[in-house]
């Protein structure tokens, strides 16, 4: 991610004419447009995964239903609440940063990270409980999907922690802060949240 607060030119999406001032006029999207390419692409890929899941679910509905009963809806709901709340704080962080209240923005960012960590802990606990209960990655088809989808999502969450780290670094600096980068990272975090909601609905709720 580029550091835009150099004297004048705005690198970022290719093709922006040099000399545009740092005070950006209304942009089409928050953050780098490039991040939205990633968001769209990842959404497509996840859609493909979920479509495959649904297709196989319809072929083995009895097995899937039975296995789903072993999932804890409470933990699932807790996870969803944690991530939704973290997104809320991320939103407030961006707003605070935009308004220039960098101290407040940083604490919001830290809280986001905290909630993300809570999600991580909850997920690992849930996995441990399942494995302990005899349901592993290779136990049956449903649990293969379960661990695969939640695993890939968790990986995206871990990357999300890196983006929060980038936000905090940006907010800390005095001289070369970039609102664009903050918003770009926030976009990514919201995507992680969105992906979880999709997974939660399909794995835990839809029966």
């Amino acid at each position: 991610m580029t550091d835009i607060a150099q004297a004048g030119p705005q690198p970022g999406a290719a093709g922006r004419p040099p000399g545009e001032s740092a005070e950006r006029p209304a942009r089409a999207v928050p953050g780098q447009p490039d991040m939205w390419v990633l968001v769209l692409f990842e959404a497509l890929v996840f859609t493909a995964y979920l479509a495959v899941y649904l297709f196989h679910r319809s072929a083995h509905s009895e097995l899937f239903l039975r296995s789903q009963a072993d999932l804890s809806p409470w933990l699932g709901t807790l996870d969803t609440l944690l991530l939704l709340t973290s997104s809320l704080f991320m939103l407030r962080c961006v707003q605070a940063s935009r308004a220039g209240a960098f101290r407040a923005a940083m604490s919001q960012a830290f809280i986001t990270a905290l909630l993300g960590t809570a999600f991580l802990a909850s997920k690992i606990t849930e996995w441990a409980l399942l494995v302990h209960g005899g349901h592993g990655f290779t136990s049956n088809e449903f649990f293969t999907y379960y661990f695969f989808l939640t695993g890939i999502h968790l990986l995206h969450l871990l990357i999300g922690f890196i983006t929060i780290g980038v936000i905090i670094c940006q907010l800390r600096r005095r001289e070369r802060r970039s609102q664009e980068i903050v918003e770009t990272c926030a976009t990514y975090w919201h995507t992680v949240d969105l992906l979880w909601v999709l997974i939660f609905s399909l794995l835990y709720v839809v029966r």
């Binding site: 580029t2 030119p9 490039d34 991040m35 692409f41 990842e42 995964y49 495959v52 990655f137």
Partner: protein, 279 residues
């Protein structure tokens, strides 16, 4: 540190006439001929690779991991000629892969990041060809060359070949991350940021393919719907993207040190003329 963005001294231009004449002119005069050499080598290699691996050898899409010894032996015998001829072609031309790595390393050299990025990439990807391509070719050749071999052994060779090819992950995982990091940190705008993020997607395909080492059937085995088919779509998009982006990079190259200039409309026409490609 020179920051001249005043482009290479362009010679008058290729003579009008046959395509061959234009190519010969470019070969002798175009200051970017080395870069174009690397780019065309890459494109040609992928075309040959695709033809050899898909219709000739039928090694891709991969056959099933859950086959019995007899089925595997049958596959080898059925594809005997295609395998041996196709893989021999790969043995002859696989040296072309170095051009792609060189060009990508060059892109990182043009960026404002440390030289270590480009060198890391070259070393990682040079290593990748051995377990990630050549072992498959050797082992499948050995599997095919003696139709009377014990099917159980042939099955071991089959597993060895496909797992090494599909399951060599780390190089592409970390290599993509190296390129991603270079692009995201770059201030010279050599490659667009969205492609930097696409490198992340490519790196993640290497995580998604890991279960191929565990499953013998289903969507996560070595020819599964998720670990092979969806992954291939991502990889295909990624490869197509970087081939086009490297082309644009070469067209924009000014042999300077600062930000790479954008391709303007009239530049585009001129650059195409220089490259000898019709618009």
């Amino acid at each position: 540190m020179s920051t001249t963005a005043a482009g290479p001294a362009t010679p008058p231009g290729p003579p009008a006439g046959s395509r061959l004449g234009r190519v010969a002119w470019h070969w002798r005069n175009n200051p970017k001929r080395e870069l174009w050499f690397a780019w065309y080598t890459t494109v040609i290699f992928y075309n040959i690779f695709f033809i050899v691996f898909f219709p000739v050898t039928h090694a891709q899409p991969p056959p099933h991991p859950y086959w019995s010894d007899a089925q595997v032996a049958y596959w080898f015998n059925h594809n005997h000629d295609g395998l041996l001829i196709g893989l021999a072609i790969i043995f002859a031309i696989a040296g072309m892969t170095v051009a792609q790595n060189a060009l990508i390393a060059y892109s990182m050299r043009r960026m404002s990041v440390s030289r270590a990025f480009g060198y890391s990439y070259i070393v990682m990807y040079s290593l990748s060809a051995v377990p990630g391509l050549l072992l498959l070719c050797v082992v499948l050749s050995v599997g095919a060359m003696r139709p009377g071999r014990d099917p159980a052994q042939v099955h071991w060779l089959y597993d060895f070949a496909f797992l090494s090819y599909i399951g060599t992950m780390g190089i592409f995982l970390l290599g993509s991350l190296v390129w991603m990091l270079a692009i995201l940190l770059d201030k010279n705008r050599v490659l667009p940021k969205w492609f930097g993020y696409l490198n992340l997607c490519n790196a993640l395909t290497e995580v998604v393919v890991a279960p191929a080492w565990i499953f013998h059937q289903g969507v996560l085995d070595w020819n599964g719907l998720i670990s092979w088919w969806v992954n291939m779509v991502v990889f295909g998009v990624y490869t197509g993207a970087f081939i086009m982006l490297l082309r644009t990079m070469i067209q924009r190259e000014d042999f300077g040190d600062g930000p790479l200039p954008d391709l303007r409309k009239d530049d585009r026409a001129k650059a195409s003329a220089l490259a000898g490609t019709p618009r």
